[in-house]
Symmetry: C2
Subunit: 332 residues, 2 copies
DNA sequence: CTGAAAGCGCTTACAG
DNA sequence: CTGAAAGCGCTTACAG
């Protein structure tokens, strides 16, 4: 049998209430009592039973992080940062892979894992965030990433339109004239980043060419490689490509290398996310670099604040700082 | 107040025992009773409280996966696979980043999180596995990766000596004469893979040259790039490099590209792990490819079997199948 | 500060 | 199959 609170109390010669007070850092405990209790805890190697505690308190100090896939570098790096940020606050993160499936996303929102978790940080892919209503989840929820107008949850995200505008403008400033986009489509990331892309073209007096906007089926290297092949098969191939994430860009670079084209001389490439692979690739990848630590820290803080009952009915929206990291793939 | 078991029982007109029986799939329930109960569960949107359940049963159906860092692609891919394998069995995985720190590893082994988890899958870095004793952890534990002789836990790992032997032999078969190794050092991975490397050299009648064995400070791209720079500064640089993981190899490839050297013509490169980055890199990376799905599935199965009380005092040791994937970095 | 006691929501012998 | 009840290990009013 594991040692219990009452064993500690007996050994320290105090009541269970006092032991509980010590563990939970309540005030009004004399240093002498505290020392006695701590000695007993150490002697018995006592560890509180978290199931009992959370059953009683109705709080578990667990939060869920629901992401499409943790094998994907951006989400892996983000998950690592969020785990660290939560741990600093005494919170444990359960990571759930939805694999972009509606059913799995629904499951998470359904208050997954019974009543175990206190709240959810949710990076949606299949579920259009606009369709979420607070009835879908009894739990506090913080949304990561794009959200169409009218959302009703707290959110932390980069200004994807502005960042995409900056990325495209960088390509224009290099004197490129046929600038393609890989990763358009859908109502989320693809739509929002295309908006910034088109806006930059328009600002420069350039028309957007639908033939240069590639949708693909996903956001992996495979998709980027395939889209780039399509672009190269065009009568007039592009001289620059803005890929809506780094994985697409790395796939595109692979296709360009296979085709014997020089980067950035023949084709300049920009990505989005700043995953570590891109920094070490040859050529290194120019990319939009969101501050992931900032994102993680603020997403956790926002959720905990909401769990604590703050925030009321306002839907807070935090904008993640970013920089455009200019590297070899655009001549940097 | 959330709906409870007793609410469901009241609505279905049965006892709580019967509801519990339905939920836990006990036999001897008529189809009619089951249907009544399930209708009530659906109508009330009832979800069992896992804290209460695990408090009562003494089992949580949670296991911990302790890895050095989830931002690292190999561990991210492994974590994803283990999460999936566990979910198939109704088990939830808590992922813990130890960041290779002794204290954090110790914390995990200490039966982390109170009595929440039922067992641990542990990929050690700082803690020499040989030093572990079963007294360190009250929980069933499965070790991942290298283990010096004398370990006393169940383990799942590739035969690193043999795999390193194969990788090095492949380089020898290409006619290379100065074959370097990056990632030697320590008592774990570095030591074991060096053993296979030296063994292959010896089998081919070649002497190993200490000057060609680079230790570095870690297993990241940064370390691989730095080690490769050291090798290129040698009076007689190598014509082939066996890197003890893919990240090191990708860093080395970056240095080679910067130096204007051709791969594999000037220097052939082999990695270990088969992470996705290597497959898409230019040149694509020849590497030892462990079957990660097999590893994940068997690690989870082994742990659950141990949790169920099986296995006795035998220390089971499972060997993960692998292949050598020959790609462009060695001319494949 | 202490002590005795209730109760969080389950599962599980127990008697029928 | 059912029903009444105990108990998992905590936290928290409550009375002192």
């Amino acid at each position: 049998m594991a040692t219990r609170l009452s064993d500690v109390a007996a050994r320290a010669g105090v009541s269970v209430k006092t032991v509980s007070n010590v563990i939970n850092d309540y005030p009004h405990i004399t240093a002498r009592t505290r020392a006695k209790v701590e000695a007993a805890i150490a002697a018995l190697d006592y560890k509180p039973n978290v199931s009992a505690r959370s059953l009683r308190k109705g709080r578990s100090d667990f939060i869920a992080l629901a992401i499409p896939e943790m094998g994907s570098p951006y989400f892996a790096e983000l998950g690592a940062a969020i785990s660290r940020a939560a741990k600093r606050r005494g919170i444990t993160v359960l990571i759930d892979q939805t694999e972009g499936e509606s059913a799995a996303e629904r499951f998470v929102l359904d208050g997954m894992r019974g009543q175990l978790i206190d709240g959810i940080i949710f990076s949606p892919l299949a579920t259009a965030p606009a369709k979420l209503t607070s009835a879908d989840t009894g739990k506090p929820l913080v949304l990561l990433g794009e959200r169409p107008a009218g959302g009703q949850f707290d959110r932390v995200a980069v200004d994807s339109v502005q960042a995409s505008y900056d990325a495209t403008t960088h390509l224009i400033s290099l004197g490129r004239h046929r600038i393609a986009a890989i990763g358009v489509g859908g109502t989320g990331t693809g739509a929002v980043r295309r908006k910034g892309y088109r806006k930059a073209l328009k600002a420069a007096g350039m028309a957007h060419d639908p033939v240069l906007e590639l949708a693909g089926t996903g956001y992996h290297r495979l998709d980027g490689a395939a889209s780039m092949r399509e672009l190269l098969a065009l009568p007039e191939p592009p001289d620059a490509v803005f890929c809506f994430n780094d994985l697409l860009a790395l796939g595109a670079l692979r296709t360009l290398a296979d085709a014997g084209l020089r980067v950035p001389d023949d084709v300049a490439v920009v990505g989005f996310d700043d995953i570590e692979d891109g920094r070490y690739h040859s050529p290194s990848l120019t990319t939009v670099s969101p501050d992931k630590e900032w994102l993680a820290d603020n997403a956790v803080a926002l959720l905990l604040d909401r769990i604590a009952g703050n925030g009321g009915s306002t839907h807070r929206d935090l904008t993640v700082p970013y920089t455009l990291e200019i590297r070899e793939s655009t001549g940097g």
